[in-house]
Symmetry: C2
Subunit: 124 residues, 2 copies
Amino acid sequence: MGEGGVEREDPARSVMAMLGDRWSPLLLLVLETGEWRHADLRRTAAALSAEQALSQRILTLKLRALERDGFVSRMVTDDVPPRVSYALTPLGRALVGELRRTISWLNERRGEIAAARRSYDELD
Amino acid sequence: MGEGGVEREDPARSVMAMLGDRWSPLLLLVLETGEWRHADLRRTAAALSAEQALSQRILTLKLRALERDGFVSRMVTDDVPPRVSYALTPLGRALVGELRRTISWLNERRGEIAAARRSYDELD
DNA sequence: CAGAATCCTGTATGATACTG
DNA sequence: CAGTATCATACAGGATTCTG
């Protein structure tokens, strides 16, 4: 239980937690550019993060959580092999707007925050 | 996609994670009202969360993290017993502005998100 | 009072193998 | 291709006890 944070109650808190987790913000930003299939989205998000790979399992968990809150839509055509695409909903696009605003606010203060950290860490 | 920044942030990611954690947002909102001492802040934050108590340890950890990033200032007078007060810095007040905007955006969409969840959970 | 030191638990994240 | 199913682990959060 508790996988993917799907059981949380208060939308404000759970969505803020989502925006602060490892992959969701990145997925939202990638999905903003259009429709993405599972494998491509996975590779692109991992490349952008410049960190480790994004596992299939985690990608699925994160997408399910975003879908559950109405930020992402999942489209399936029943071909074989299956073709599944993900995209932002209108609500998801609006959320990305908020996300971008927060990110740029933080980026504008990047230097100030970094300086505060240096100053704090430098004390014995 | 061009300008902005879809990728690596140091403060951006850690601060977003902070804003999404269990106590930091609440502490920022309480501290916005003025200067607070450890014990009072602890009690008040716990009361507002309507959840469990906030342990001394966690309060200290969260305050240290906020202080390190330059959002909170810690003032000590060397009396016995010690008197320690916490307050927002100007940067911290600005951060609370951003936090409030995000919170109210989410609160305005609370119904829509809740509906999406119900709809999602109802299937299967 | 404010906090440090310990110890403990749940949850998020991840690696890997398997399947319709 | 787009997932599940397992198994493993790191870490945030928290309960409790002690002290300058």
